[in-house]
Symmetry: C2
Subunit: 253 residues, 2 copies
Protein backbone atom coordinates (compact mmCIF):
# COMPACT_ATOMS: atom_id res chain seq x y z
CA UNK A 1 0.00 0.00 0.00
CA UNK A 2 3.03 2.16 0.24
CA UNK A 3 3.29 2.09 -3.52
CA UNK A 4 2.41 5.32 -5.20
CA UNK A 5 -0.82 4.78 -7.01
CA UNK A 6 -1.08 8.40 -8.00
CA UNK A 7 0.85 9.23 -11.09
CA UNK A 8 1.27 12.73 -9.84
CA UNK A 9 3.14 11.50 -6.81
CA UNK A 10 5.25 9.20 -8.92
CA UNK A 11 6.24 12.18 -11.04
CA UNK A 12 6.90 14.26 -7.95
CA UNK A 13 9.15 11.59 -6.49
CA UNK A 14 11.00 11.31 -9.75
CA UNK A 15 11.53 15.06 -9.73
CA UNK A 16 12.71 14.99 -6.13
CA UNK A 17 15.28 12.41 -7.11
CA UNK A 18 16.45 14.60 -9.97
CA UNK A 19 16.72 17.50 -7.58
CA UNK A 20 18.81 15.54 -5.14
CA UNK A 21 21.17 14.24 -7.77
CA UNK A 22 21.58 17.52 -9.60
CA UNK A 23 23.49 20.56 -8.37
CA UNK A 24 21.64 23.80 -7.78
CA UNK A 25 20.96 25.63 -11.02
CA UNK A 26 21.03 22.54 -13.20
CA UNK A 27 18.20 22.17 -15.70
CA UNK A 28 15.78 19.27 -15.48
CA UNK A 29 14.32 17.61 -18.57
CA UNK A 30 11.66 19.50 -20.48
CA UNK A 31 8.07 18.82 -19.54
CA UNK A 32 7.31 17.04 -22.79
CA UNK A 33 10.33 14.82 -22.29
CA UNK A 34 9.23 13.93 -18.79
CA UNK A 35 5.85 12.96 -20.18
CA UNK A 36 7.42 10.34 -22.40
CA UNK A 37 9.86 9.10 -19.80
CA UNK A 38 7.16 8.61 -17.19
CA UNK A 39 4.28 7.84 -19.52
CA UNK A 40 1.98 10.52 -18.19
CA UNK A 41 0.26 13.48 -19.73
CA UNK A 42 1.66 16.96 -19.65
CA UNK A 43 -0.90 18.45 -17.25
CA UNK A 44 0.11 15.78 -14.77
CA UNK A 45 3.76 16.66 -15.15
CA UNK A 46 2.98 20.35 -14.92
CA UNK A 47 0.99 19.83 -11.77
CA UNK A 48 3.86 18.01 -10.09
CA UNK A 49 6.38 20.58 -11.23
CA UNK A 50 4.15 23.35 -9.98
CA UNK A 51 4.02 21.83 -6.55
CA UNK A 52 7.78 21.78 -6.34
CA UNK A 53 8.01 25.29 -7.67
CA UNK A 54 5.65 26.39 -4.92
CA UNK A 55 7.73 24.72 -2.27
CA UNK A 56 10.76 26.43 -3.70
CA UNK A 57 12.66 23.41 -4.97
CA UNK A 58 12.38 24.23 -8.64
CA UNK A 59 12.45 27.43 -10.63
CA UNK A 60 10.70 27.81 -13.94
CA UNK A 61 11.78 30.22 -16.63
CA UNK A 62 9.52 30.79 -19.55
CA UNK A 63 11.19 29.82 -22.78
CA UNK A 64 14.33 28.58 -21.08
CA UNK A 65 13.51 25.63 -18.94
CA UNK A 66 13.05 24.44 -15.39
CA UNK A 67 15.94 24.40 -12.97
CA UNK A 68 16.90 23.04 -9.59
CA UNK A 69 16.64 25.80 -7.01
CA UNK A 70 19.02 26.39 -4.17
CA UNK A 71 17.95 24.48 -1.11
CA UNK A 72 17.31 27.18 1.42
CA UNK A 73 16.91 25.31 4.66
CA UNK A 74 20.34 26.03 6.00
CA UNK A 75 21.82 27.31 9.16
CA UNK A 76 21.13 30.75 7.84
CA UNK A 77 17.57 29.74 7.14
CA UNK A 78 16.26 32.14 9.65
CA UNK A 79 17.94 35.16 8.26
CA UNK A 80 17.90 34.06 4.64
CA UNK A 81 14.20 33.64 4.35
CA UNK A 82 13.51 36.75 6.32
CA UNK A 83 11.20 34.96 8.68
CA UNK A 84 13.65 36.44 11.05
CA UNK A 85 15.52 39.49 10.00
CA UNK A 86 17.89 42.00 11.41
CA UNK A 87 16.45 45.34 12.46
CA UNK A 88 18.32 47.03 9.63
CA UNK A 89 19.27 44.62 6.85
CA UNK A 90 22.18 42.51 7.99
CA UNK A 91 25.87 42.94 7.67
CA UNK A 92 28.30 40.11 7.11
CA UNK A 93 28.17 37.08 9.32
CA UNK A 94 31.15 35.39 10.81
CA UNK A 95 31.58 32.90 13.59
CA UNK A 96 34.02 31.94 16.27
CA UNK A 97 34.14 28.34 17.38
CA UNK A 98 34.03 28.18 21.15
CA UNK A 99 33.98 24.47 21.61
CA UNK A 100 34.03 21.37 19.48
CA UNK A 101 33.96 17.74 20.43
CA UNK A 102 32.58 14.30 19.87
CA UNK A 103 30.80 13.49 23.09
CA UNK A 104 27.92 11.40 24.46
CA UNK A 105 24.54 12.97 23.84
CA UNK A 106 23.48 13.14 27.47
CA UNK A 107 19.93 13.08 28.69
CA UNK A 108 18.58 16.33 27.36
CA UNK A 109 20.04 16.24 23.86
CA UNK A 110 19.57 12.49 23.62
CA UNK A 111 15.89 12.82 24.26
CA UNK A 112 15.45 15.38 21.52
CA UNK A 113 17.46 13.44 18.97
CA UNK A 114 15.87 10.14 19.94
CA UNK A 115 19.20 8.72 21.01
CA UNK A 116 20.51 6.89 23.98
CA UNK A 117 22.23 9.31 26.36
CA UNK A 118 25.42 7.35 25.79
CA UNK A 119 25.34 7.65 22.01
CA UNK A 120 28.00 9.88 20.50
CA UNK A 121 27.20 13.17 18.86
CA UNK A 122 29.16 15.84 17.08
CA UNK A 123 28.94 18.97 19.16
CA UNK A 124 29.97 22.47 18.31
CA UNK A 125 29.43 25.73 20.13
CA UNK A 126 29.85 28.91 18.15
CA UNK A 127 29.64 32.59 18.73
CA UNK A 128 28.02 34.18 15.71
CA UNK A 129 28.82 37.74 14.86
CA UNK A 130 27.57 40.35 12.43
CA UNK A 131 30.21 42.84 11.35
CA UNK A 132 32.29 41.71 14.26
CA UNK A 133 29.55 42.33 16.79
CA UNK A 134 28.37 39.33 18.85
CA UNK A 135 24.88 38.41 17.84
CA UNK A 136 24.06 34.92 18.94
CA UNK A 137 25.31 31.78 20.59
CA UNK A 138 24.68 28.59 18.72
CA UNK A 139 24.96 25.04 19.97
CA UNK A 140 24.79 22.42 17.26
CA UNK A 141 24.34 18.69 17.81
CA UNK A 142 24.44 16.00 15.13
CA UNK A 143 24.27 12.27 15.92
CA UNK A 144 27.57 10.62 15.07
CA UNK A 145 25.68 7.69 13.57
CA UNK A 146 24.00 9.93 11.06
CA UNK A 147 27.23 11.26 9.64
CA UNK A 148 30.18 9.31 11.03
CA UNK A 149 32.76 11.04 8.89
CA UNK A 150 31.60 14.58 9.49
CA UNK A 151 34.54 16.90 10.04
CA UNK A 152 34.81 20.11 11.96
CA UNK A 153 35.13 21.88 8.64
CA UNK A 154 31.80 20.46 7.53
CA UNK A 155 30.15 21.84 10.59
CA UNK A 156 31.76 25.20 10.15
CA UNK A 157 30.74 25.54 6.54
CA UNK A 158 27.99 27.93 5.65
CA UNK A 159 26.07 25.48 3.53
CA UNK A 160 25.94 22.83 6.17
CA UNK A 161 22.94 21.01 4.75
CA UNK A 162 24.58 20.76 1.37
CA UNK A 163 27.48 19.09 3.15
CA UNK A 164 25.15 16.72 4.92
CA UNK A 165 23.70 15.75 1.56
CA UNK A 166 27.14 14.69 0.44
CA UNK A 167 27.15 12.39 3.45
CA UNK A 168 23.89 10.88 2.26
CA UNK A 169 21.64 12.79 4.62
CA UNK A 170 18.70 14.47 2.95
CA UNK A 171 17.17 17.09 5.16
CA UNK A 172 13.45 17.37 4.64
CA UNK A 173 11.82 19.17 7.49
CA UNK A 174 12.56 21.29 10.50
CA UNK A 175 10.47 22.23 13.46
CA UNK A 176 11.60 25.36 15.13
CA UNK A 177 10.45 27.00 18.28
CA UNK A 178 11.28 30.42 19.55
CA UNK A 179 10.67 31.71 23.01
CA UNK A 180 11.66 34.74 24.98
CA UNK A 181 14.20 34.42 27.70
CA UNK A 182 16.85 36.41 29.47
CA UNK A 183 20.58 35.84 29.33
CA UNK A 184 22.55 34.32 32.19
CA UNK A 185 26.00 35.34 33.36
CA UNK A 186 28.12 33.47 30.87
CA UNK A 187 25.84 34.25 27.95
CA UNK A 188 25.87 37.91 28.90
CA UNK A 189 29.64 37.94 28.91
CA UNK A 190 29.95 36.26 25.52
CA UNK A 191 27.28 38.39 23.87
CA UNK A 192 28.40 41.60 25.48
CA UNK A 193 25.06 42.50 27.02
CA UNK A 194 23.98 42.99 30.64
CA UNK A 195 22.85 39.99 32.65
CA UNK A 196 19.09 39.43 32.39
CA UNK A 197 18.87 41.28 29.10
CA UNK A 198 16.00 40.07 26.88
CA UNK A 199 16.91 37.40 24.38
CA UNK A 200 15.36 34.84 22.07
CA UNK A 201 15.86 31.17 22.60
CA UNK A 202 15.76 29.19 19.36
CA UNK A 203 15.44 25.46 19.17
CA UNK A 204 15.40 23.63 15.92
CA UNK A 205 14.95 19.92 15.32
CA UNK A 206 15.72 18.81 11.84
CA UNK A 207 14.51 15.60 10.26
CA UNK A 208 15.75 13.85 7.16
CA UNK A 209 13.78 12.11 4.42
CA UNK A 210 13.83 8.86 6.36
CA UNK A 211 12.38 10.42 9.45
CA UNK A 212 15.60 10.39 11.44
CA UNK A 213 16.44 13.30 13.67
CA UNK A 214 19.63 14.60 12.16
CA UNK A 215 20.24 17.86 13.96
CA UNK A 216 19.39 19.68 17.11
CA UNK A 217 20.27 23.34 17.29
CA UNK A 218 19.87 25.54 20.30
CA UNK A 219 20.64 29.23 20.01
CA UNK A 220 20.47 32.40 22.05
CA UNK A 221 19.93 35.58 20.07
CA UNK A 222 20.38 39.04 21.44
CA UNK A 223 16.97 40.59 21.93
CA UNK A 224 18.16 44.11 21.31
CA UNK A 225 19.45 43.30 17.86
CA UNK A 226 17.00 40.75 16.67
CA UNK A 227 13.40 40.82 15.69
CA UNK A 228 11.12 38.39 13.95
CA UNK A 229 9.29 39.89 11.04
CA UNK A 230 6.60 38.05 9.21
CA UNK A 231 4.40 39.18 6.45
CA UNK A 232 0.96 37.71 6.25
CA UNK A 233 -1.10 38.06 3.14
CA UNK A 234 -4.78 37.50 2.77
CA UNK A 235 -6.32 37.25 -0.64
CA UNK A 236 -3.58 38.92 -2.58
CA UNK A 237 -2.06 36.96 -5.40
CA UNK A 238 0.93 35.05 -4.12
CA UNK A 239 2.72 36.45 -7.12
CA UNK A 240 3.00 39.74 -5.27
CA UNK A 241 4.79 38.38 -2.29
CA UNK A 242 8.54 38.40 -2.49
CA UNK A 243 11.02 36.08 -0.87
CA UNK A 244 10.64 37.64 2.51
CA UNK A 245 7.48 35.84 3.19
CA UNK A 246 5.70 33.44 5.43
CA UNK A 247 2.39 32.22 4.27
CA UNK A 248 0.07 30.84 6.86
CA UNK A 249 -2.09 27.83 6.16
CA UNK A 250 -5.53 27.40 7.63
CA UNK A 251 -7.26 24.38 8.96
CA UNK A 252 -10.82 23.71 7.95
CA UNK A 253 -12.97 25.52 10.52
Amino acid sequence: MAEAILKRERVRDHLLELIETHPAGAPIPAERVLCQQLSVSRPTVRSAVEELVNTGLLVRQHGRGTFVARAKITQEMVSDTGSMSLPQAGGTWSSRVLEHARIPAGARVGRRLHLSPAADIHYIARLRLVDGEPMALEYLHVPALVAPSLTLHDMESGDFYERLREHGVHVSEAVQSIEPTVVNDSEAALLGVPVLAPALLFERLTTDAEGRQVEYVHSIYRGDRYRIVSRLTLGASPRNTVDVEARIGNSPF
Copy 2:
Protein backbone atom coordinates in the same frame (compact mmCIF):
# COMPACT_ATOMS: atom_id res chain seq x y z
CA MET B 1 -4.48 46.54 -20.86
CA ALA B 2 -5.68 46.25 -17.32
CA GLU B 3 -8.45 43.99 -18.51
CA ALA B 4 -8.07 40.40 -17.49
CA ILE B 5 -7.42 38.47 -20.65
CA LEU B 6 -6.67 35.31 -18.73
CA LYS B 7 -9.69 33.28 -17.94
CA ARG B 8 -8.01 31.89 -14.91
CA GLU B 9 -7.69 35.35 -13.41
CA ARG B 10 -11.26 36.14 -14.29
CA VAL B 11 -12.33 33.05 -12.39
CA ARG B 12 -10.10 33.92 -9.49
CA ASP B 13 -11.52 37.42 -9.27
CA HIS B 14 -15.02 36.02 -9.38
CA LEU B 15 -14.15 33.70 -6.54
CA LEU B 16 -12.62 36.52 -4.54
CA GLU B 17 -15.85 38.43 -4.94
CA LEU B 18 -17.81 35.44 -3.73
CA ILE B 19 -15.51 35.16 -0.75
CA GLU B 20 -15.98 38.79 0.18
CA THR B 21 -19.75 38.67 -0.10
CA HIS B 22 -20.20 35.38 1.70
CA PRO B 23 -19.77 34.77 5.40
CA ALA B 24 -17.07 32.40 6.59
CA GLY B 25 -18.12 28.79 6.22
CA ALA B 26 -20.58 29.42 3.40
CA PRO B 27 -20.35 27.09 0.43
CA ILE B 28 -19.46 28.41 -2.99
CA PRO B 29 -21.04 26.95 -6.13
CA ALA B 30 -19.84 23.56 -7.26
CA GLU B 31 -16.98 23.49 -9.73
CA ARG B 32 -19.16 22.24 -12.54
CA VAL B 33 -21.63 25.02 -11.89
CA LEU B 34 -18.91 27.63 -11.98
CA CYS B 35 -17.80 26.24 -15.33
CA GLN B 36 -21.19 26.99 -16.83
CA GLN B 37 -21.58 30.36 -15.14
CA LEU B 38 -18.20 31.58 -16.31
CA SER B 39 -18.00 29.61 -19.54
CA VAL B 40 -14.68 27.99 -18.76
CA SER B 41 -13.52 24.43 -18.44
CA ARG B 42 -13.25 22.59 -15.18
CA PRO B 43 -9.45 22.42 -15.08
CA THR B 44 -9.45 26.20 -15.30
CA VAL B 45 -11.88 26.50 -12.45
CA ARG B 46 -9.98 23.95 -10.42
CA SER B 47 -6.73 25.76 -10.98
CA ALA B 48 -8.19 29.03 -9.73
CA VAL B 49 -9.82 27.36 -6.75
CA GLU B 50 -6.59 25.62 -5.93
CA GLU B 51 -4.73 28.90 -5.81
CA LEU B 52 -7.20 30.28 -3.30
CA VAL B 53 -7.09 27.10 -1.28
CA ASN B 54 -3.32 27.42 -1.10
CA THR B 55 -3.57 30.98 0.09
CA GLY B 56 -6.04 29.84 2.70
CA LEU B 57 -9.13 31.65 1.45
CA LEU B 58 -11.09 28.57 0.51
CA VAL B 59 -11.40 25.13 2.01
CA ARG B 60 -12.22 22.08 -0.06
CA GLN B 61 -13.89 19.02 1.36
CA HIS B 62 -14.09 15.93 -0.74
CA GLY B 63 -17.65 14.95 -1.41
CA ARG B 64 -19.07 17.97 0.40
CA GLY B 65 -18.07 21.06 -1.43
CA THR B 66 -15.86 24.11 -1.29
CA PHE B 67 -16.32 26.70 1.41
CA VAL B 68 -15.22 30.16 2.33
CA ALA B 69 -12.49 29.83 4.91
CA ARG B 70 -12.36 31.83 8.05
CA ALA B 71 -10.31 34.90 7.43
CA LYS B 72 -7.50 33.95 9.70
CA ILE B 73 -5.64 37.18 9.86
CA THR B 74 -7.42 38.07 13.02
CA GLN B 75 -6.56 38.89 16.52
CA GLU B 76 -6.37 35.18 17.10
CA MET B 77 -4.14 34.75 14.12
CA VAL B 78 -1.18 33.96 16.18
CA SER B 79 -2.68 31.16 18.15
CA ASP B 80 -5.09 29.88 15.51
CA THR B 81 -2.58 29.31 12.80
CA GLY B 82 -0.11 27.82 15.17
CA SER B 83 2.63 30.12 13.99
CA MET B 84 2.52 30.83 17.65
CA SER B 85 1.10 28.20 19.87
CA LEU B 86 0.62 27.44 23.47
CA PRO B 87 3.05 25.01 25.07
CA GLN B 88 0.24 22.48 25.42
CA ALA B 89 -2.63 23.03 23.01
CA GLY B 90 -4.71 26.00 24.03
CA GLY B 91 -7.71 26.32 26.26
CA THR B 92 -10.57 28.73 25.78
CA TRP B 93 -9.82 32.38 25.27
CA SER B 94 -11.63 35.19 26.95
CA SER B 95 -10.86 38.83 27.39
CA ARG B 96 -11.39 41.64 29.85
CA VAL B 97 -11.61 45.15 28.51
CA LEU B 98 -9.34 47.39 30.52
CA GLU B 99 -9.85 50.60 28.66
CA HIS B 100 -11.83 51.84 25.72
CA ALA B 101 -12.02 55.27 24.15
CA ARG B 102 -12.04 57.37 21.05
CA ILE B 103 -8.95 59.49 21.37
CA PRO B 104 -6.36 61.33 19.27
CA ALA B 105 -3.73 59.04 17.81
CA GLY B 106 -0.75 60.79 19.34
CA ALA B 107 2.73 60.81 17.88
CA ARG B 108 3.73 57.19 18.17
CA VAL B 109 0.52 55.54 16.99
CA GLY B 110 -0.10 58.28 14.45
CA ARG B 111 3.21 57.63 12.80
CA ARG B 112 2.53 53.94 12.44
CA LEU B 113 -0.96 54.42 11.08
CA HIS B 114 0.10 57.27 8.80
CA LEU B 115 -2.19 59.68 10.60
CA SER B 116 -1.87 63.12 12.02
CA PRO B 117 -1.27 62.89 15.78
CA ALA B 118 -4.52 64.81 16.23
CA ALA B 119 -6.62 62.37 14.19
CA ASP B 120 -9.09 60.29 16.17
CA ILE B 121 -8.68 56.58 16.63
CA HIS B 122 -10.64 53.84 18.30
CA TYR B 123 -8.57 52.52 21.13
CA ILE B 124 -9.10 49.46 23.25
CA ALA B 125 -6.88 47.81 25.81
CA ARG B 126 -7.68 44.25 26.76
CA LEU B 127 -6.38 41.60 29.04
CA ARG B 128 -6.57 38.29 27.24
CA LEU B 129 -6.93 35.12 29.23
CA VAL B 130 -6.82 31.40 28.55
CA ASP B 131 -8.97 29.34 30.84
CA GLY B 132 -9.13 32.32 33.14
CA GLU B 133 -5.38 32.70 33.35
CA PRO B 134 -3.90 36.01 32.16
CA MET B 135 -1.95 35.45 28.98
CA ALA B 136 -1.42 38.72 27.19
CA LEU B 137 -2.09 42.40 27.10
CA GLU B 138 -3.37 43.76 23.85
CA TYR B 139 -3.63 47.35 22.71
CA LEU B 140 -5.68 47.83 19.56
CA HIS B 141 -5.81 51.01 17.49
CA VAL B 142 -8.07 51.61 14.49
CA PRO B 143 -8.31 54.98 12.72
CA ALA B 144 -11.75 56.50 13.25
CA LEU B 145 -11.81 57.54 9.60
CA VAL B 146 -11.47 53.97 8.45
CA ALA B 147 -14.53 52.76 10.31
CA PRO B 148 -16.46 55.69 11.73
CA SER B 149 -19.33 53.64 13.03
CA LEU B 150 -17.29 50.96 14.70
CA THR B 151 -18.73 50.06 18.08
CA LEU B 152 -17.11 48.68 21.18
CA HIS B 153 -18.92 45.45 20.49
CA ASP B 154 -17.28 45.23 17.08
CA MET B 155 -13.88 45.57 18.63
CA GLU B 156 -14.64 43.01 21.27
CA SER B 157 -15.87 40.44 18.80
CA GLY B 158 -13.66 37.51 18.09
CA ASP B 159 -13.99 37.79 14.36
CA PHE B 160 -12.92 41.38 14.24
CA TYR B 161 -11.88 41.38 10.61
CA GLU B 162 -15.18 39.94 9.54
CA ARG B 163 -16.77 42.89 11.29
CA LEU B 164 -14.46 45.30 9.53
CA ARG B 165 -15.50 43.80 6.25
CA GLU B 166 -19.08 44.69 7.03
CA HIS B 167 -17.85 48.25 7.38
CA GLY B 168 -16.36 48.07 3.91
CA VAL B 169 -12.79 47.49 5.02
CA HIS B 170 -11.10 44.60 3.28
CA VAL B 171 -8.01 43.51 5.12
CA SER B 172 -5.37 42.22 2.77
CA GLU B 173 -2.02 42.11 4.45
CA ALA B 174 -0.33 42.35 7.80
CA VAL B 175 3.24 42.85 8.78
CA GLN B 176 4.03 41.56 12.19
CA SER B 177 7.12 41.82 14.25
CA ILE B 178 7.95 39.97 17.40
CA GLU B 179 10.73 40.78 19.76
CA PRO B 180 11.75 39.67 23.19
CA THR B 181 11.31 41.98 26.11
CA VAL B 182 10.71 41.93 29.82
CA VAL B 183 7.60 43.10 31.63
CA ASN B 184 7.46 46.33 33.59
CA ASP B 185 5.66 46.87 36.89
CA SER B 186 2.13 47.42 35.64
CA GLU B 187 2.36 44.68 33.06
CA ALA B 188 3.69 42.31 35.66
CA ALA B 189 0.75 43.08 37.93
CA LEU B 190 -1.84 42.57 35.20
CA LEU B 191 -0.29 39.38 33.87
CA GLY B 192 0.47 37.95 37.27
CA VAL B 193 4.17 37.41 36.68
CA PRO B 194 7.26 38.82 38.41
CA VAL B 195 8.68 42.11 37.22
CA LEU B 196 11.34 41.62 34.52
CA ALA B 197 9.95 38.24 33.53
CA PRO B 198 10.63 37.36 29.86
CA ALA B 199 7.87 38.30 27.46
CA LEU B 200 7.19 38.72 23.77
CA LEU B 201 6.32 42.08 22.30
CA PHE B 202 4.09 41.82 19.27
CA GLU B 203 3.41 44.61 16.86
CA ARG B 204 1.14 44.20 13.93
CA LEU B 205 0.33 46.69 11.21
CA THR B 206 -2.59 45.71 9.03
CA THR B 207 -3.28 47.11 5.60
CA ASP B 208 -6.48 46.94 3.57
CA ALA B 209 -6.96 46.31 -0.13
CA GLU B 210 -6.59 50.02 -0.87
CA GLY B 211 -3.28 50.25 0.91
CA ARG B 212 -4.60 52.11 3.93
CA GLN B 213 -3.29 51.26 7.36
CA VAL B 214 -6.36 50.02 9.14
CA GLU B 215 -5.06 48.62 12.37
CA TYR B 216 -2.15 48.81 14.73
CA VAL B 217 -1.93 46.21 17.43
CA HIS B 218 0.62 46.10 20.17
CA SER B 219 0.66 43.15 22.56
CA ILE B 220 2.67 41.75 25.41
CA TYR B 221 2.59 37.96 25.74
CA ARG B 222 3.80 36.05 28.74
CA GLY B 223 7.07 34.37 27.91
CA ASP B 224 6.52 31.45 30.23
CA ARG B 225 3.32 30.41 28.53
CA TYR B 226 3.99 31.28 24.94
CA ARG B 227 6.23 29.93 22.29
CA ILE B 228 6.47 30.38 18.57
CA VAL B 229 6.48 27.16 16.65
CA SER B 230 7.08 26.99 12.97
CA ARG B 231 7.42 24.04 10.75
CA LEU B 232 9.62 24.34 7.73
CA THR B 233 9.40 21.77 5.01
CA LEU B 234 11.80 21.08 2.24
CA GLY B 235 10.68 18.81 -0.53
CA ALA B 236 7.94 17.07 1.37
CA SER B 237 4.47 17.19 -0.06
CA PRO B 238 2.59 20.16 1.35
CA ARG B 239 -0.23 17.73 1.85
CA ASN B 240 1.59 16.38 4.87
CA THR B 241 1.75 19.68 6.64
CA VAL B 242 -1.20 20.37 8.83
CA ASP B 243 -2.59 23.69 9.92
CA VAL B 244 0.33 24.36 12.16
CA GLU B 245 2.49 25.43 9.34
CA ALA B 246 4.56 28.16 7.88
CA ARG B 247 5.91 27.62 4.45
CA ILE B 248 8.88 29.59 3.39
CA GLY B 249 9.14 30.90 -0.14
CA ASN B 250 12.44 31.18 -1.94
CA SER B 251 13.61 33.58 -4.55
CA PRO B 252 15.14 32.27 -7.75
CA PHE B 253 18.82 31.74 -7.10
